[in-house]
């Protein structure tokens, strides 16, 4: 489920947006014990100059956004991607009726930036 809040502008800057993954909606709630779901989030928005200088961007992305601003036909803008991620743990039954706890790295987007 994503929550499309009021657009902050016709061309919103790169940032994390809410995306809630609900295991019940994919029919997995019978064998996934916990959690029922988790906030995965996603990145969306532009990395134009000078916005790219105000958020978590690598120097190369700042240069690329500058080049895009002066010569858009030759250089695309940098990409809006996750730059900080968190893990989650999932408790579930496997197909041998064992109770399993599995740790997954990089499942939640905490922060986005230009790359």
């Amino acid at each position: 489920a994503t929550y499309l809040g009021p657009l902050d502008s016709p061309d919103p800057p790169c940032r994390a947006r809410q995306l809630y993954i609900n295991f019940r909606e994919v029919g997995w709630h019978n064998w996934i014990i916990a959690p029922r779901g988790f906030m995965a989030n996603y990145c969306q928005g532009h990395c134009f100059f000078p916005t790219a200088t105000k958020i978590s961007s690598l120097n190369h992305a700042v240069m690329q956004s500058l080049m895009h601003s002066v010569a858009p036909a030759t250089t695309p803008p940098p990409c809006c991607v996750p730059v900080k991620l968190s893990p989650i743990s999932v408790l579930f039954y496997d197909n041998s009726d064992n109770v399993v706890l599995r740790h997954y790295e990089d499942m939640v987007v905490d922060e986005c930036g230009c790359r």
Partner: protein, 244 residues
């Protein structure tokens, strides 16, 4: 396109395979979730937003986030913890011979182990359920043998096909007993055993006068389980140094 009931869409299969999830076929499982698994889950990363769950375990405060791919409470590296019940639990304990109080085959199906995973802990738990007429403090002679060779219902066909792994005096059966099976020696011939067959023998300590029927009760109330921790190195890249 909605897949036929009971079948998985190609997308779901691909996603499950990527996440290493293997849903149980058929009706929802009813096995209770052991408290150790709830405890380990609660110590998981903050990001897990638990919306609660019907069979939620006792509320426990969120603990600080552990090191990635390290099971702090057990003190071992790992990103997958499995709680495996004794497959022979339903088989009634054999009448013990001679002065033996209890002789019980234990069988654990380990076919879920994936060669790319590294075994970091295999902890056997014996929980006798503390029947009322069990004296609180009384020595017991407990031994665990590795049953090898052909078996019938998890029970070795030939008694001499046993390798004693451990023999020790335990002061009480009131609390769960834990044994580190990796430290006790090899688990079968291959590094990745398909199963673990053990025989548990229990003798009362010296000059013990056991209430009648206690041994039978212990055999029925015993719950044996394995806690298996593995590390899948591909999923546990060391946390990259924060760039810039």
């Amino acid at each position: 396109t909605q897949p036929q009931p009971g079948t998985l869409s190609p997308q779901a299969s691909a996603l499950l395979q990527t996440l290493g999830l293997s849903p149980p076929p058929g009706p929802p499982p009813t096995r209770p979730v052991p408290s150790v698994m709830w405890r380990l889950f609660r110590r998981g990363p903050e990001a897990t937003e638990t919306q609660g769950s019907e069979n939620e375990g006792p509320e426990m405060p969120q603990e600080p986030q552990p090191l990635p791919c390290h099971v702090e409470e057990l003190g071992v590296p790992g990103n997958i913890v499995r709680h495996v019940l004794d497959g022979g639990a339903s088989a009634p304990p054999e009448p013990a011979l001679g002065s033996l109080c209890l002789e019980k085959p234990l069988f654990f199906n380990l076919s879920f182990l994936n060669p790319k995973e590294q075994l970091t802990l295999v902890r056997l738990e014996l929980n006798f359920g503390a029947p009322a007429d069990l004296a609180p403090a009384q020595d017991w002679e407990l031994s665990l043998s590795h049953a090898q060779g052909p078996q019938l219902w998890g029970r070795p066909l030939h008694w001499h096909h046993r390798e004693v792994l451990l023999s020790q005096t335990v002061p009480t059966l009131h609390d769960p007993l834990h044994f580190d099976m990796l430290a006790l020696g090899r688990l079968g011939n291959s590094t990745f055993p398909q199963n673990l067959s053990l025989v548990l023998e229990l003798l009362p300590g010296r000059d013990s006068d056991l209430p009648k029927g206690l041994c039978t009760k212990l055999g029925h109330s015993l719950e044996a389980s394995l806690l298996v921790v593995t590390l899948d190195p591909q999923l546990c890249q060391p946390t990259s140094r924060k760039r810039r």
